[in-house]
């Protein structure tokens, strides 16, 4: 009697296991090719959730030593040049966020040992919002923000 039950239980868990593997395999192709790409962070709908997934915490300290170079007014929200630079020591990574975008986290840059804390790229912005740069050092997160006004198609905003 006990043996039979145990057998059923084993069968059941084995079957569940197989289904789990199948679902996992389905999800893995081709979206999750990269193990290091943090899907939770990049799909997060707000900044604290994105930062918590990405860096383990959303407790940032505002720092003026983080310089964000971005236009005050961006005519075209599809191409907004952003440069982030700081003179902090021991910077591990830099993240760029547009806080009104549907998924705010845009890019995160993991800096190797020789890399200097400087990154520059071009981002898309849905509407006028803050561009936030988050700098991760060995033990802390620092951030700074700059507002960028977005006028899509030059209709004014």
């Amino acid at each position: 009697m006990i043996d039979a039950k145990r057998r059923i239980l084993l069968k059941g868990s084995l079957a569940a296991g197989t289904v789990g593997v199948a679902v996992g395999a389905g999800l893995l192709s081709p979206r999750m090719v990269l193990a290091s790409w943090n899907e939770a962070a990049f799909h997060a709908k707000d900044l604290p959730a994105a930062l918590t997934s990405l860096m383990g915490s959303d407790a940032t300290e505002t720092s003026d030593t983080i310089k964000i170079k971005a236009p005050d007014i961006a005519e075209n929200g599809a191409v907004v040049p952003v440069t982030v630079e700081t003179d902090m020591e021991g910077v591990k990574s830099i993240a760029i966020v547009a806080d009104q975008n549907q998924t705010p986290l845009i890019a995160s840059f993991d800096l190797g040992e020789s890399a200097l804390p400087f990154v520059s790229t071009r981002i898309k912005m849905a509407k006028t919002s803050n561009v936030v740069a988050v700098v991760q050092t060995a033990d802390k997160l620092y951030s700074n923000a700059k507002e960028v006004k977005v006028t899509i198609g030059g209709c004014g905003g």
């Binding site: 081709p30 979206r31 090719v33 990269l34 290091s36 790409w37 943090n38 990049f42 599809a78 191409v79 907004v80 040049p81 440069t83 547009a98 975008n101 549907q102 998924t103 986290l105 845009i106 890019a107 995160s108 840059f109 993991d110 800096l111 190797g112 040992e113 020789s114 890399a115 200097l116 400087f118 990154v119 520059s120 790229t121 071009r122 981002i123 898309k124």
Partner: protein, 103 residues
């Protein structure tokens, strides 16, 4: 053939690398203006930049990076003639790689 353009310049002991890539960078949120259907997400997820086989920087991106992405970064050290290698991988599993030299 690769569409990645790389410029790497050494100045005062710092090497500045600038790259341009060709990629549609579709977020998956945009609707096709003709059919009204969502254009599937297609964007670069990871860019790995190496110099002399050492990873200098790894960039993780969402579809929020502009079409035909531009990327610039700096690193200490490096010498004229050192190789720079940039490789990207997108969410469809496509990948491209290019190399250049520090000038």
């Amino acid at each position: 053939m690769s569409d990645i353009k790389i410029r790497a310049k050494l100045k005062d002991g710092e090497t500045e690398v600038k790259c341009l890539m060709s990629h549609p960078m579709e977020t998956g949120l945009r609707k096709d203006s003709k059919t009204g259907e969502l254009v599937p997400a297609h964007f670069i997820q990871e860019v790995v930049c190496k110099s002399k086989d050492q990873v200098v920087m790894t960039a993780n991106w969402s579809g929020g990076v502009s079409k035909n992405p531009y990327l610039a970064f700096k690193f200490a050290g490096g010498a004229a003639g050192d190789p720079i290698e940039v490789t990207w991988t997108d969410n469809m599993g496509e990948t491209q790689s290019a190399t250049s030299e520090i000038s």
